[in-house]
């Protein structure tokens, strides 16, 4: 079922400019994951691999298994079968809804999770995260008073306090306005490019996959039906360089989804 992820052959400007990271041993590899909820099979033999500095978008219609896949990779749920190469402590996880304490300040939230993660230099980590997310001037502000975009930045920062080599983002731009989304992706891309962090994110937004992903994984009815670059997805429906969203819809339709 699993297909090897071919090298990126072309595609959206930003992803092209960034270039696909050099390949080597995968930073995260999941093989033949299956998960059942009662009689419903949420995942059927799904395999995913991601390399250092790679941005991987997990796409698919509602109920395709995207959140289940990310939950298993994050260690929140256990797969019925299959393997994941990294433990949950080695993977940063950023849930769709910001998982923050509204009554605590930005710095206090970061400090709490840095301590829980066992960061050797808690204050240093907090300062680094504040700098990385551009929230130094909001450090003493309670989270409940932040905008949605800033909350999501703190949310991502908390996912990074343990300096994980792999970061999982569940629908990261879902609750953000276009400007906030743009700033978030600037941050995430810099993270992948400069820090070498592998980022795997689920999204409903075809544009987020087209513009930011090196690799696109398409799930439908619990199965992986595609894995490759956005350009390869377009090529799979015979329209390379055309409308990515149309190509994605066509791809699903051709395969009966």
């Amino acid at each position: 079922m699993a297909r090897p992820a071919p090298a990126r052959a072309g595609g959206p400007a930003r992803a092209e400019a960034a270039g696909r990271p050099e390949r080597g041993a995968p930073m995260l590899e999941a093989r033949d994951l299956t998960k059942r909820f009662g009689k419903r099979e949420a995942l059927r033999g799904v395999s995913v691999s991601a390399h250092r500095g790679e941005l991987v978008a997990v796409m698919g219609p509602n109920g395709a298994g995207k959140t289940t896949l990310l939950s298993i990779l994050a260690g929140i749920q256990r797969a019925d079968s299959g393997t994941v190469s990294r433990s949950s402590r080695e993977v940063g996880w950023v849930p769709q809804q910001p998982a923050l304490y509204g009554k605590l300040t930005v710095a206090e939230n970061l400090r709490l999770f840095a301590r829980l993660e066992g960061a050797p230099d808690v204050e240093g980590t907090v300062e680094r995260m504040l700098a990385q997310t551009g929230l130094e001037d909001r450090a003493r502000e309670r989270v409940v008073r932040l905008s949605g975009g800033n909350r999501q930045r703190v949310n991502v920062a908390i996912g990074l306090v343990g300096s994980p080599p792999v970061l999982l983002l569940d629908e990261p731009g879902a609750a953000l306005d276009p400007r906030q989304r743009e700033r978030l992706w600037e941050f995430v891309e810099a993270l992948a490019e400069e820090e070498g962090t592998t980022v795997l994110y689920s999204t409903h937004d075809v544009g987020e996959a087209e513009h930011h992903a090196h690799q696109v994984v398409v799930l439908a009815d619990g199965e992986r039906i595609f894995s490759g670059s956005p350009a390869e997805l377009e090529g799979a429906v015979g329209d390379p360089g055309g409308d990515f969203e149309a190509a994605f819809v066509a791809f699903l339709r051709e395969r009966g989804h």
Partner: protein
Amino acid sequence: MRWLLLKDLRILGRSPLLVALLVIYPVLVSALIGFALSRGPEKPRVALLNQVAYGTGQIDLGGRSLDTRRIGDDFLRSVDAVTVGSREEARRLVEDGSVLGAIIIPAEVTQRLQSGLQPAVIEVLYNAEDPVKARYLEDLVKSQVQDANAQLTRAFSDVALQYLDLVIRGGRISILGRDANILGLERSEQILRAAQADLPERSPLRAQLEEVIRFADGARNNLTLADEALTSVGSPIRVRTEVVEGGGTPLGSFAVAVAVTVTLMFVTLLLAAGILAIEREENAFLRLVRGLVSRTGLLVEKVGLSAACSLLVALLMLLGLALFVDLELSRAGLWTLALGAGALAFAAMGVAIGAVAREVRAASLLAFMLSLPIAFLALVPSGAVSSGLYTFIRVVSALFPFQPALDAVEAAIGGSEGLGLALAHLAVLTLGFGVLGRLALRRFA
């Protein structure tokens, strides 16, 4: 775990209104409940055993006729009386909680009242598991006895006056069926004066002198009788009480125990349920349990924090109440032990509620809705409902921490028995609710 504790304390510290409500509301509610407890039930069920046979209850005192069976009639009007045929039946009904207490009017009450030499004794059996009930029954009996005593006092006063009149003026008296002539002080004085004036040494008037001596003896005896009669007038009926079941906690201490336990319950349940549910509401639960802290560890932290906070509130409340109610401060160690065990059990129940409800508002509502019925069930007095229903209520109460917590606090404050059993009961409930909460956390996210 300490970082989670500090985080929760900081969040609580930044929610002053919530914390104030969490403390003030339970204190107010418990004060109201404590006040309500000082009032007894309207018409309690009381077993009545009147062993005075029909037709034998009449006594004649100073020419006035009284029916001792009417003492029982007076009780019948004041209580929901259950007439029983034997002492054993009365005791059994008290023991199984079917009646609030039992009043036994023994057969010899008529003879004792008639003789006027010994007070008649009415027996009262009551179940002292609940000091409120015991106090109510005591008050009821005292009230009825006072009424009866008032009637008898008048009759005995008449008798006493007759004796005194006899001593002063002389006359005839019937003692043990034999008539005797009493000279009286007045006549004795006359005789003594005459004898004094006329009597030479070795006079033949010795017989008269002997009569005076007999008078003196008789007068002394009459005065003794009058003395006993007057003693009886003071309290012609005495009450001998016997505790058949339960301890003897004073009502004041019991009301304090109820008030403090209610406060402990509200504060702990609401706090524990709320601080667990908030982890989900803030979406932080999954982030925490994916390797940062175990689910069990999270529960332990919530139980410990809420138990510690509510223990502090309850102890402060108890110390405050000690300013107004006579409480033994030397027992403060036992207070802490009882309140701590109760707080842990309530906290375990609270996290179970929080884990089931999953949202702060739903958890608070559920904790609140469960609290009052649990407390009221535990306070239902025996005798207020049928025996079967009372047994059912006791079983249901035993499944929740309020009853054992109240027992423990009552024992710690009032010195009644059963502290060890109550602590063991609370330990079992802490474990049980802890397991329930842990199971509920499986579907918490």
